[in-house]
Structures are given as C-alpha cells and as structure tokens.
Symmetry: C2
Subunit: 449 residues, 2 copies
C-alpha cells in the first residue's frame, strides 16, 4: 500500500531536483525568468482560455518540503545534506507576471512569466505546466460546448470520468469559467461556491418495485427540486409516470422541475416528451438531456430546435476528448539578466521576458491581432492593451485576484470579442500574433520557430 502522502512539493520531475543540486553546487544560482506558453494551439482550436492561475499562486505561496518529503529524498541516496538543508528552508521568493484568468490566448504567447532565483523558478515547472495546461484545456472545451448550446444551460456531469479527482474538481471550476451553469460535483461546489445540480440515477429506479413508486419516493423527498429520469425501462411510459407525479405534486402546491433523457434518440424523444408535458399542462417542466454529449452533438440538437431546457455534459468534455493535451512549455528566457533560448528543431524559443499586446478593430470592437514584444518594449501601436501584469512579488500575491465570478465574466467578454471564425468548432482561424522585429532579431534561429 501507499508508503506516505508526500506534499505537492514532490509533485516534481526528478530532474528539477537533480538540476537544483547541480545549480547549488556550481554556484549557478542567479535570477532567471521562465515563460509558460503553448507552442501550437491544439487541433480545431482557434484560441485557448487561460485558467489555473489561482492554483498556481496558492501553490507558490504555500510551497514547502515537509520532513516526510525530505526523509524520502535523503533515503534515495541521490542528494547531499547541503541540498536537503537547502530544501528544508525552501520558500518561493520570486515574482510572477500573468494574464488574468479567463483571457483568450494564442500560440507562443506567455500566459505566465516567473522571475526568481533559478532553482526556485526551475523546481515549480512540473506543477505549473500541469495545472495551467489542464485548466486551460478544460475551460476552452467548456466554452465550445456553451457556444454550441446557444443559450441553453449546460451543467458539468464529468466527475466520474475525468482523469482522477484533481481533474474532476478542476473541470468543475474551469467549465464554470467557460460558461457552464453548475456542477454535479458536490466537493467542487463546496470548494468553489459553484451551484450543484443533480437528478437521479437508473439505480434509484431499479431499487423500487416500479418506476412510479420510485418517482413518488423521490418527489416526496424533494417536492420542489425533483428532476425525474425517465429512460430506465420504456421512455414514453417513464414520461407518463412523471406526468402523474407532476400532477400529484401540483395538488400539494409543489412543482416538478424537470425530466431527464439519458439515452436513445434525444432529438426525437425530447419532442415527444415536450408534447406529452404540454398536453398535460406541464409547460413549466423542463427537459434535461445527457448521455455522451459534446459540442458537436449539442450543436446538432440546438440547430434542429430540439426542445431541451438544459444539458448535462460529462465524459467527452471532462477529458477534453478531441484535444486532451496541448504542448504547453515552460522555458527559461533569461539567466542573470542575459536573454537565453533553446534552438531545438521545432521547439526553439524567443529569448527574454515578454509582453503580449491586444489590438481591437476600431469598427466592430473585435480582437484584430496581438503583438508579442520584449517586456520593456514601447506600445507597438496606439490603443494596444497589455495582457501580462504583476500578480506576485517576493513570493506573495499582490492585491486581489479576480473572483471566480469575475473570471467567468472576463471569459464571456473575451469570447464576445473573438471573431466568429476564431470560435468555429472545426477548422477555426486564429488571431495573428505579430512578433516584434526586436524579438525576431534576437532569436538566434528564427527560421526554426
């Protein structure tokens, strides 16, 4: 079984620690800057929504090696007492510049830049890439689903199929940023203050002698918040039983909230259900659709006008199934004030700290293009807006971060200013990122970038 529970400080690739020991021993401990960016957008993505900063900053503020962590590292025989003592005193003391969460970003644009003594900046790489890559993929996937749903509410039902519990919790948060209205994940609701949403499972129905008995038991327990799952046996019979219970609730002054369809031809069944409910004077009972939905199937339902009042979306969004990874990278761009870069084919980087500038079309207010410049460059054109600003100094968060609600508003505003062609679900365009002449000249190997 598990030996002990290491802290998040050990969520680190071994080489971060071996390099750190080598840095320490060679006296190579000056300040360095690292940029977190994606080299290319994933397939069928014209943008990504930045998310994960809150967790990154919390991690940086709280990062400590516990005595258990240190005992383990000592036991491996790879690390000397000098280095273990260094880790025992370790605090992240650096500064961070970042985009606001909810900001749309494009290839090669840093979302985060970390400046710190090189060991501190290096050790945090694994966690930072992990969290930002995941959260940004999730927020973006959710925004696609919300776009497809065209105004109908979408809820997160992914907790059972995400890759682990961290992903399940972060998907709830990121999908809320991307525009979902709530989550089935109770812990995420508690953690982030997101509305929790739920109906019932097939097993609840099968526990009882009949579907009608099960519906009545549930409606007794939740007379004002019940959504009944109608497809366990025969969907039309299930809808009829739900109508019966809805009328029983009315006679007691309550209202059935909805019915849920989780299988079969959702488009066809939703129309039958709507007509049966309307014929029974239950126009207020909404139809919830779920079961293997994603932005593509929801777009088809929305375009055909299926009378669906809410979607529950799980697996395919919760693993970002069509784009489960990005090539997010965290690269050193200065050491001791000197701009540095790698030249590896296909992976070359621009040296030095950066600024990202966003420029809008004066006519329609939409995003026109971005500029990527060195951090200290002048504004490349009038009315360009800077996206990177200081969020941490000396290892402490500076000022207030956006609340989760503000991040969600920010994302909605960002999406509203992206051209339709960038938002397309398949083969979108992206926003041009103009690299400054200064950066191009400083890149030792620009044709490989």
């Amino acid at each position: 079984m598990t030996r002990f529970d290491p802290s998040d400080a050990l969520y680190v690739d071994l080489y971060q620690l071996t390099m750190a020991q080598a840095y320490l021993r060679s006296g190579q401990i000056a300040e360095a800057t690292f940029s977190l960016f994606v080299r290319n957008l994933p397939p069928d993505r014209g943008f990504l929504l930045f998310a994960g900063l809150e967790d990154v900053l919390k991690y940086l503020e709280e990062l400590r090696f516990t005595s258990g962590d240190l005992d383990y590292l000592r036991s491996t025989g790879q690390f000397g007492d000098d280095f273990i003592e260094y880790l025992a005193r370790f605090r992240f003391t650096g500064s961070v510049r970042a985009m606001d969460e909810g900001t749309a970003f494009f290839a090669n644009e840093p979302m985060i830049e970390v400046t710190a003594p090189v060991i501190e900046g290096q050790i945090v790489e694994t966690f930072l890439i992990n969290q930002v890559n995941m959260a940004s993929l999730f927020a973006t996937k959710a925004a696609r689903v919300v776009k497809a749903a065209g105004g109908t509410g979408v809820a997160d039902f992914a907790a059972r199929r995400t890759h682990g519990t961290d992903a399940g919790n972060k998907f709830a948060r990121s999908s809320y940023i991307g525009g979902f209205v709530g989550t089935s994940n109770v812990g995420a609701g508690a953690r982030y203050g997101i509305s929790t949403i739920g109906t019932m499972a097939h097993s609840f129905i099968t526990s009882f002698d009949s579907e009608l008995t099960a519906f009545r038991a549930y409606a007794d327990a939740f007379p004002d918040s019940a959504t009944l799952l109608v497809d366990t046996y025969d969907t039309v019979n299930g809808i009829e039983a739900a109508v019966t219970v809805a009328h029983e609730l009315e006679s007691r002054g309550s209202r059935l909230v909805g019915i849920r369809l989780d299988s079969g031809d959702i488009d066809f069944l939703s129309r039958i259900a709507r007509r049966m409910l309307d014929d029974a004077s239950l126009g207020y009972v909404q139809i919830v659709a779920s079961g293997g939905l994603d932005e593509f199937s929801i777009e088809a339902l929305a375009k055909s006008g299926a009378p669906i009042g809410a979607y529950g979306v799980g697996t395919l969004a919760g693993v970002s199934a069509d784009a489960p990874w990005s090539d997010a990278a965290y690269k050193q761009v200065t050491y001791d004030g000197r701009p540095v870069a790698k030249f590896s084919p296909g992976k070359a980087t621009f040296p030095g700290p950066k600024q990202v500038w966003r420029c809008f079309d004066a006519g329609n207010g939409m995003v026109a293009h971005d500029h990527l410049t060195s951090a200290d460059a002048d504004s490349p054109e009038p009315n360009a807006t800077t996206l990177l600003h200081v969020v941490m100094r000396g290892g402490t968060v500076t000022g207030d971060l956006l609340s989760l609600g503000q991040v969600r508003d920010r994302a909605r505003m960002e999406l509203g200013r992206l051209p339709e062609s960038v938002l397309e679900l398949t083969r979108p365009t992206s926003v041009p990122v103009r690299v400054s002449d200064e950066l191009l000249a400083s890149s030792p190997d620009r044709e490989k970038i």
Copy 2:
C-alpha cells in the same frame, strides 16, 4: 479563493446524496449489489488491464464525512437534519468482490462488485468509476507502449501533462503496472516505491555560458548517474561535448550513464550518436529518446533498429491520447435479493451478481475465451478459472492485497497469455465472452444488450 478543502467523501455527484436522502426517508434501505464494468472496449483496444483497486479499497475503509463536509451540506438547504445525522455516522460496511489488479478484462465483465446497504453502495459510485476508469486506461496504454518498445525500458515522463496531480500520480503507478521501469514523478516514487528517473532540462543548459560548462557542472554533481541532454543547440555538437565530459568522468573513475535526444529525427540522430559514442570507446553510454513519443512512434523506432537504450514517454501516454475515456459504468444488479436491470437502449444490463471465468487453450496455454455467469453458477467447463473473489467484508479488507510488484508481475503474465491478435496496437480482436444461458434468459431485453 477556495472556501475549504472538502474530504474525498464529497467527491460525489449531487444525485448520490439526494437519492440517499430519498432512500432514507422512504425506508428503502435494503442491501443492493452494484457491478463496475465497461460496456464496450475503447477503439483499438482488444483488452483493458484492471487497475485502481487499491485506491478504491482505501477509500471505502476511510470514507467519512468531516464536520466541514456536513456544514457545507447543511448550508445548501437541500438536506434535512435526519440525513445529515445519518452522514455524520456514515461508514462503508459492505463487501467487495473484485478481480486482482493487473488482470486483463473485456467488455461487460465486472471488475468489481459491491454489496452493501443501498445508500452505501450508491454513494461510492462516483469515486469508484473515476479511479478504476482512469487507472485501467493508463495501465493499458502503458502496456501498449511497452509492447511497442520490444524489451527496451520505458519511463514515465508524463507528470507535467496529465490532467492534474491525481492523474500524474496514478499514471506513475498504473504505467508501472503496465511494464514501465520507473517514473520522473518524485512524489509517485515516494508514494509507491517506484524507481525515479531523470536527466536534465534545456533550461539547465541555457543557464550556463556554454553547453560544455553545463554538462561539467551536472557531471560534477552526479558523477555516476548523469544523463546529458544534447539537443539544446546543435545535436552533433552536443554529443561531442558529452563525449568530452564522459572521458573526463572516466579519468576520475566514473562513468556517464547516457545522453538524451528530445527533438528532431530521433531515428537518424540516434544512429549518429551511437557511432560517435562507439568511436569514442563509450559503448556503455546509452541513448535515451523522448519528446512526443507513443506506442506508434516507438514501434517505428524499434522496427527500424534505432540504437535506443531507453524511452521517456510523457503526454501521449499520460492522457491516454488515443483513448482518453471508456464507458465504465456502475450499475445496480440486485435490490433486497431481487435481480434488477435497466433496459435503456444501448445501455441495458444483465441482472444479478456475476462471476467471470477464464478458459485457456489446452495446447498453447493462451486465453481462449471467458464466461460470464451468475455469481452462484457452477463452472461452465472444466479448468475454468474464476476472476472475481472477495477482497472486503464488513467494510474491512480481507487478507493481503497483491503488492505493486506482484500486480506488475500479474499484468506481465496476463499479457503473455493474450493472443497476439488481441495485443495488436490497431484493430485488435478481443477475447470472446460467453454469456451463460441463465443470464441471457434473465435479461428482460437481451437484444438491446
């Protein structure tokens, strides 16, 4: 920011708790059995390796609602004092039958069956599906990579690109079960006792004035365990610098372990590197390849005879990129001793607890077919082996579970007994699962299954 840290007990879909309250209030609290299985194998999977049981059993043993959890639930206004008091005393008291971790399984075969008072069996659904689905997908993906590598060692470099830290840790464990030799994830090494493996990052090289200076600093810190990354600037120059450092280490009685190629035409560069190393009498220095590798690219390298001594595999394995999800389900199959099932189109289930029997070809010892029967059925044929056995009674693990090393051995044995056609990386066959006549007759809707 985060409000509070809920326990794993709140890693639960809201409907588990609302159904539980409805069960409690309607007195519907008899014992039920639930089966965890996948309805269909993912694309290009002829089998899945079962993993995640250890975490499931630990969760079941330790499952408690904390006072913080209960305060949150009370604050939602959805739950009555009766139910909150029930949760305050909640313990999982049921029994579990399961396959051994490392066992190969196929569509419709339960890997886990839980028998418990219905509320207890229901509340654990979200966590159980989440952990087993993830771990089994990961172990299977790793087994595919190991097969492709054909005897060359493969290490887990995925920590930065998995969906969160839980996935990163579980990928380290599951990939070890699937045959990986170690992980770069230090915390997973500590947690599971897996060997940790690491080289160096490009940023280490770019911190120094020259590649040679960086290599020397690293070799000074790790004279007997250094693997030098040679592609930061020009790969051939990098190999030359590594040769210089290897000879310097020899003069001090140490040996360079390896060099790492992380970009470019790995096949071509590995041959150049091997010749340069051999020409310098450094036949013992191994070549490590990494950078966007998966079972398909590794199979190509192995088939072409590229002289690679070890692979580091990250992103594409760590998100199981070609199959990031399965349709794992957890379905009620009995209530109060009565077999139950759902009939939803495409999602119908066989009622009752099950047994899975494995039958081998008497000639070559390979897996021939499985039988799926009711739990109390007689052996369907001579020499059939049962795969489900009791691992928990009264909420307590019975006896010793397999150690992680034993699980890894079990997986290797299992893979060795699967026909080559089942192991194919693309368009594999699967193993026939013969459903007993008794089960077929008991399914109310067999043609939909």
